[in-house]
Point group: C2
Chain length 192, copies 2
């Protein structure tokens, strides 16, 4: 960890892409992360915030140190919020092509990415940071950056998909970067 970083916090995740995106945001606040890959336990819920909260509490039982976890999902309006909290499983099974097949012929392509960061501090008290990004589902997959459903998500006001952006560019729009900036403000307030 470079000496210039004043603050360092544990991020429990096995997703290296998430770590890169959040690290990029937090580094601008002089906050660094230490990635822990301990096994997470995630509950089934339609509420991303509830999943993140329970997951953080479970990880805290093991690590007993300040930490945060992040849970996210893509909610497609015409599909009643599918794939939502199960975006990762849906990506692994039917993938981008499956979602495009479900959206074939749909004129309403509105969607929202939601991210919830659950942070537990020294005293064991928990706080949630929520970020969201509205957009549309592309007609076809484009780009090879990012991960998951990034190749078919176009943030509002953009023409590129998330997968056609660099990490820095994606972080100007993304749900995860918004949640990470809230986390940064909270951490700076707590450790000022």
């Amino acid at each position: 960890m470079p000496e210039s970083f004043k603050l360092s916090i544990i991020f429990v995740t096995s997703n290296i892409n998430k770590a890169k995106e959040i690290e990029n945001v937090l580094s601008t606040y002089d906050i660094s992360i230490v990635v822990s890959q301990i096994k997470k336990r995630e509950i089934q819920s339609e509420d991303i915030g509830e999943i993140a909260r329970e997951s953080a509490l479970y990880a805290y039982q093991t690590l007993k140190k300040p930490l945060f976890v992040e849970d996210a999902g893509l909610f497609v309006k015409i599909l009643n919020g599918f794939p939502g909290p199960y975006s990762s499983f849906v990506y692994k099974t039917i993938g981008v092509d499956g979602v495009l097949k479900l959206m074939f012929g749909q004129s309403n392509r509105e969607a929202e990415f939601i991210s919830q960061i659950a942070y537990i501090n020294e005293e064991g008290s928990l706080k949630l940071c929520r970020g969201s990004c509205e957009g549309t589902i592309a007609e076809e997959a484009r780009g090879c950056g990012g991960f998951g459903f990034d190749p078919i998500f176009i943030p509002k006001g953009c023409s590129k998909t998330f997968a056609e952006m660099s990490v820095v560019e994606k972080n100007m729009f993304s749900h995860r970067a918004k949640a990470a900036r809230l986390l940064a403000s909270m951490l700076l307030e707590e450790y000022k």
Copy 2:
């Protein structure tokens, strides 16, 4: 509860259809069920057995009495096991029509329903009973019996979908009935 029933056991579920199907099987062994609708906590996992086990342990913490829970899923081969453990959420969002759309033009229509019953006895020890039913995904939805994806599942060797069968007929083939018969044998052995 009729006097003729010797054994009675708590089934934690909010799904009345599941209760009816399992009740029909267990009654032939003179075992009755008492439905408890306490809030379940289900974890995210690709293993139905793990979900059922954790869910039963959680319910046992509250009820502290012998009980069972059941978890089930539809695993479509060409969709890499989708919707699997998240069948209930997928049914609520994209529904039967969504799965038919994903299967449009697919010649391989093999699928499997899997059920896992997790039973905890007086001493708090847990056992799993697994049942499965192989079949195919129908070209279109048929029938109005059953629940969930029953209108598009045709068990191997049948021409009818699960939704075109009565409870008794469905129980001759179903994953859930097979798991329930294993549970019955286990209970009769335990309380003989």
